[in-house]
Point group: C2
Chain length 365, copies 2
């Protein structure tokens, strides 16, 4: 089986296909969606290449007569840079990729972001296929945000470049290390809170702590992705409702940074969701019961909901830097209920400090 | 007086304003077009800064309460690189430019291209105002093509990022060195050949060899720009009719490169237009009389129409590299008449060699 989620965003129309063993049939799959090319370059990282995912994609393309090439980059966020992009441009050029060729990003969020940025800018833009191989990347592969980091700030250089297709092979998730699986669940739970009560309550009732039945995983990912698809459809360029997707990310990004990336993205987001729920409770927007439901669901998936050892003062310093032009009143996406996340623009330092105290048992401000 | 040319391309609507002494009133001019911001960064190069154009723009913005900053880059095509873009990102970040701020590119084509690329990618895109200060840049500032060079190839990395406004102050052109004026006229004449018989015949009857009456210059630029506006409106992403704008550029780029940039862009384009006219004559598409009219108009503006000292073999080597995926039959934009340029996809090496011989008096192949 496979599940199709149609994506309509801006002037783009494409499909997210979730299913098992899709990598080896990606050539015919794309052909069936009307996406054809004589040339294709697969971009991946060393970790993903080791599992044979990129070569499966390459073989599948070659089998239908596409002239293909694989570019392998070193793994990790520290390689999500303009320098990596530049080395890709040179390699694309020496392969001779034309404007009507395809770029396929096979890997996690870093590969998707940097390969996506290269696809957005090589010869002023070539067609991009996102092929996420991590659970976390079910999120980042949809919606067209691509980019690289600068030393001072993440994702500071980038573009909106919608893929022509997203192909998510759940079989690739079977080999994920447990900690990466868990990290991915943070975004799945987030999508449940933002827009799918049924998904959220299912996860609460039966936590998905590891890859198990492929059909169940397929169904769960399609539901989580559908939330993201609905939100980005309303606001491609991230000026309004798309900010809902920041749930957990405002505090999460600061926590991730302050931990010096000892906490991974999913773990930091989990802590962020918990803290932001506490803010919403303190302001009278979210019930204590629902906040506890959120916390216990995150925890049941093995995700942290508190921050042993991190200092709230350092977290606030980082938040202040991120928010440097918002001064006293910060914009947050906060949960009002399961399925009801809203943008609030008057969160203060005191709100954050109190939420922190609440969740760590420290004293309130 | 000032002339407004409305531009409708893709989903973008903006205005080209051509007039005298616009730099000093750019703040109110943009405000009148509904373009408002709290922050603006003016990007320019050292040569342009010397004439005070960037500081005039900055003062005008500050006068209406905009918080502004000027970034000055070294002049010349060799600085149209990712490294220059990266240094700009850092400077924008240290100024604190937000997503709702403006970037104004004040200068020639290089400034417009690289500042435009930065505007397209900084925080996934901020609003761009093109403020061309050369005659040549009346062309590049319209249509949204922005980008930087790689060592192997020009404009290989880029985006389509339409400006929110183009403001062309003809007073800034009064200080152009004669050779730069002449180079700009090559694109003006090209636009006449592509889509404005009246403009072309006016230039033929009374060559505009230097900046003279500002109102005449304003009128001429508005007419030339209107041709470009019409062509890009039909084909924002350059897949069809926009290729007409390549008239003179296929051979021109090769000639420019082979001359090792001793010939500037306008001069090389002039030679390209002449050669490509000869190809059209040989194929029976253009009359000898019209081809001579084109040559004499270019020459009357002080532009070269032949290539003393360049070897056709070297030019063909370069063309072959540019066209490496087109093999025997090359795509050219060729003149069929004044106001009638068409895309032809079966030009051969022999065609180019014969046109070369025709224009230089060398022996035919």
């Amino acid at each position: 089986m496979s599940t199709i989620v149609p994506v309509n965003v801006g002037t783009s129309r494409y499909q997210l296909t979730v299913g098992s063993h899709l990598l080896a049939q990606i050539g015919t799959l794309l052909d069936g969606q009307g996406i054809r090319a004589n040339q294709a370059v697969v971009i991946t990282d060393e970790n993903v290449a080791r599992f044979g995912h990129a070569s499966a994609v390459l073989s599948s393309l070659q089998a239908i007569g596409v002239h293909g090439h694989v570019i392998v980059i070193p793994p990790g966020d520290k390689h999500k840079t303009l320098a990596t992009a530049e080395s890709m441009y040179h390699e694309l050029l020496s392969f001779g990729l034309r404007r009507n060729g395809l770029i396929l990003a096979v890997g996690g969020g870093v590969v998707g972001d940097v390969a996506g940025f290269v696809a957005a800018t090589y010869q002023r833009g070539v067609r991009l296929i996102q092929v996420p191989t991590t659970l976390l990347a079910h999120d980042s592969s949809i919606g067209g945000k691509v980019g690289v980091n600068l030393s001072e700030a993440k994702n500071l250089v980038g573009a909106f470049h919608q893929p022509r297709a997203v192909i998510l092979d759940v079989a690739a998730l079977a080999t994920l290390p447990p900690r990466e699986w868990t990290a991915g669940m943070a975004e799945v739970i987030k999508h449940g809170i933002i827009g799918d009560k049924t998904l959220f309550h299912k996860l609460h009732a039966r936590p998905v702590v590891a890859f198990s039945n492929p059909d169940d995983v397929e169904c769960m990912i399609a539901q989580a992705a559908a939330v993201k698809v609905r939100v980005v459809a309303d606001d491609e360029r991230d000026f309004k409702t798309r900010m809902k997707l920041n749930l957990g990310h405002t505090i999460g990004h600061a926590v991730e940074k302050v931990s010096n990336y000892a906490l991974n993205h999913g773990e930091a987001i989990s802590i962020g969701i918990r803290m932001e729920s506490e803010i919403a409770v303190a302001r009278g927007w979210l019930t204590r019961g629902t906040s506890d439901l959120i916390s216990s669901t995150l925890a049941a998936h093995g995700l942290p909901v508190t921050t042993p050892g991190l200092s709230i003062d350092t977290v606030l310093d980082t938040l202040r830097l991120d928010k440097k032009h918002e001064y006293d009143h910060w914009t947050f996406a906060l949960p009002f209920d399961i399925g009801d996340v809203r943008i609030v623009d008057d969160v203060t330092e005191v709100d954050v400090r109190n939420a922190w105290a609440m969740s760590t048992g420290e004293e309130r401000a």
